[in-house]
Structure formats: structure tokens, C-alpha cells
């Protein structure tokens, strides 16, 4: 029984327990926020300050690069998403065959106006929603 449990854990990434993987790859400027978050309930969100951009890398649950075609932001007045350039310094290796590798998908999310909207991310293993919360810029006097 114990062996069966271990086997399930080991196979988890390949049989549906795996999750897509997002990472913040750029820093926010001083006084701003530009971060990706997720919780154990599969809630995913990005906090970004109005007027700033954040780079997010994305791999699907098989550790393949996410797609870009089909990825969009629901309310383009609040945020926008662009395909970011990535080279082989940013590499994904597949679970199924670690010898196969390709450049990671990098999305550049830009906070345009204060509010919240949904980033719909297309991957080869399904689509995922990421909430984008655009925060107000610090007030300047």
C-alpha cells in the first residue's frame, strides 16, 4: 500500500496532479509592485502597478512552454499582455523527455488602469485564468 502511494506521488505530475508553472522574472521598480501569486486552491493572480510591466514565464503542467496564440486579457482597458522575447537562456525541459527543450514562454503583462481583469492563458494542457489586479501608483506631490 505504501509503495502504491509513493508511486502515485511520483507519477502525479504525469497523470493530472501537476499544475502549470508561472514565475515572475522581472523586478518591480521602487515603490511599485509586479508579482505573480498562487494559492493552494489554484487561485492565480498578478499584482502590478498602473503603468508598469511585469515579465511572467509560463510552463504547462507537462513543463512544456505555454502557448501564446489564444492568450488574452478580458478587459484590454485595464491590462494588456504581449509575447515577450525569450532565448535559450530561458529553457523549459519536458518531463516526458528531459532531452527535449525549448525556450520558455514569456508574457509581458502591462497594468494600464486601476482595476481587475482576467488573463486567459492558453497552454497545450488546457487554458488557465490568472486574475490581474492593477494597483494605483504611489501618489506624488
Amino acid at each position: 500500500m505504501k509503495r502504491f502511494a509513493f508511486a502515485l506521488l511520483a507519477l502525479g505530475p504525469l497523470v493530472g496532479c501537476a499544475k502549470p508553472h508561472f514565475d515572475t522574472i522581472t523586478s518591480a521598480p521602487p515603490g511599485a509592485v509586479a508579482e505573480y501569486h498562487e494559492d493552494s486552491n489554484d487561485n492565480r493572480w498578478i499584482d502590478v502597478t498602473e503603468g508598469t510591466a511585469v515579465g511572467i514565464s509560463c510552463e504547462d503542467k507537462s513543463k512544456s512552454p505555454c502557448g501564446y496564440d489564444g492568450t488574452f486579457v478580458a478587459d484590454a482597458s485595464i491590462a494588456s499582455v504581449y509575447h515577450g522575447y525569450s532565448d535559450f537562456e530561458d529553457v523549459s525541459k519536458y518531463y516526458a523527455n528531459p532531452n527535449n527543450a525549448s525556450a520558455k514562454t514569456i508574457m509581458v503583462v502591462v497594468g494600464l488602469a486601476v482595476g481587475s481583469t482576467t488573463l486567459r492563458v492558453r497552454t497545450g494542457r488546457g487554458d488557465y485564468n490568472v486574475t490581474v489586479n492593477v494597483k494605483p501608483a504611489p501618489s506624488r506631490t
Partner: protein, 224 residues
């Protein structure tokens, strides 16, 4: 070899390395594929290597030089865009300061791929200061004192820079210049913030430079 002798070798190494390490470099983009700096006179190494090391002044124009540093291909045509045009706008490859704050400058390829981005700060200048310009068009780093002496026939170029407190701000500003025409001749040097001053006859006058609702002064004493 004793610790003392190792230590002296280490000291020499540090001293030799210091000039290379202390030099500044253009600002690297957030994705690491480009560098950005103000577009500078070819001989102005200080400007070229300073990068975007200060906020852009409200009302100033900053011609940008964006170089692709990614490996294995030449730079494609690049388009620049502001993520918040209320903070700064972009015309061609020139950023124009609009209001205090910060916003990202996005660098696009023709395929609307963001190859990189960098966040610019914008600040409202609190004063102008007069700087001397070198013969090849570079602006000296330190501002002028309040008074200088010239000899009749001297030909000196000056520029004004916007400051926020003690920090100089980036960007070209359109300044208007004035002084006593009997003592010095002002010549438009073709640079937005600069002017040539040719001393004509002895006496004392004040050189005024005005821009962005601010004024800078420099007392000129012309000697025979």
C-alpha cells in the same frame, strides 16, 4: 608566502580592477535583451555610459538609444511605447516627460514581440543650473559657479540642465538665453539647451537662461 604578502597582491589586484569596475554602463532592460541610454554626442562617453541614471524631467525630451544585446542576431527595427502616456509619452525614439511618476518603456519588434522593457521615472524640476559644454558638444558634469571671468574674444558654450534638488534630471529642454549684448554676443549653437557666448568688451553682465518656468543665472565678468 605569508598572509602579509598575499594581502599586498590582493590590494594591487583591487586597485588595478577599480577603474573597470567603477565605470557605469547603460541601463539593462528588465528581460536582459537590450540596453538603453540617452542618445549622446559620439565623444560624450560619460553620457553614453551613464545609462538612464536619473529621472526624466517633466517637459523635457530625451532622445533614446536602445541597443539589442541578445545573442545571435542583428537588431531588428524597434518601436518604443509608453505604458502610461500621462507620465511620459514617446515620439519615435524620444521620451517626453509629462508628469511625476514612473512608467515602463516597452521595446517592440515589428512582430509586436516585446523584446525588453525598462521603467523610467519622471520628476518635476525644481531648478536649472548652467553647465559648460566642451568643444565636441558634451556637457560637463559639474554645474558652473555663480560667477566666471572671460577675456575679450573668449568663446564659451553653455547649457542648462534641469535639477530636482541636487539631482540632475535627464532630457533636453528648450531654453531662451539673454545677456547684455554690448558685452557678450549670444550665438545659437543649434542644441536645444545650449548657447555660445562670445565676449566682446570688458564689463560685467548676467547670463540668463529660462526654461520650464525656471531660470538660471551666471555672472560674466569680461576682462580686457
Amino acid at each position: 608566502m605569508t598572509w602579509r604578502s598575499w594581502r599586498s597582491i590582493g590590494t594591487v589586484t583591487i586597485v588595478l580592477a577599480a577603474p573597470a569596475c567603477s565605470g557605469e554602463s547603460p541601463t539593462t532592460g528588465a528581460l536582459g535583451h537590450t540596453t538603453a541610454s540617452a542618445a549622446c554626442a559620439p565623444s560624450d562617453q560619460a553620457c553614453a555610459f551613464a545609462g538612464l541614471d536619473a529621472p526624466l524631467a517633466v517637459g523635457a525630451k530625451l532622445p533614446l538609444s536602445v541597443d539589442v544585446t541578445a545573442k545571435g542576431f542583428s537588431a531588428p527595427p524597434l518601436t518604443l511605447a509608453s505604458a502610461n502616456v500621462r507620465v511620459f509619452d514617446v515620439q519615435g525614439h524620444t521620451a517626453i516627460g509629462k508628469a511625476p511618476g514612473f512608467a515602463s518603456l516597452l521595446v517592440f519588434t515589428p512582430e509586436t514581440l516585446v523584446i525588453d522593457f525598462v521603467t523610467l521615472s519622471v520628476e518635476k524640476p525644481t531648478e536649472l543650473r548652467v553647465h559648460r559644454m566642451t568643444k565636441d558638444g558634451a556637457v560637463e558634469a559639474l554645474p558652473m559657479p555663480t560667477k566666471i571671468q572671460l577675456l575679450v574674444g573668449d568663446d564659451v558654450s553653455f547649457s542648462v540642465r534641469p535639477y530636482f534638488g541636487e539631482r540632475h534630471l535627464l532630457g533636453d529642454i528648450d531654453a531662451t538665453w539673454s545677456a547684455d549684448d554690448a558685452l557678450v554676443k549670444l550665438v545659437d549653437s543649434g542644441t536645444p539647451a545650449g548657447h555660445r557666448v562670445v565676449a566682446r568688451s570688458s564689463g560685467t553682465t548676467t547670463l540668463h537662461a529660462a526654461a520650464l518656468g525656471l531660470e538660471a543665472k551666471l555672472t560674466l565678468e569680461v576682462l580686457q
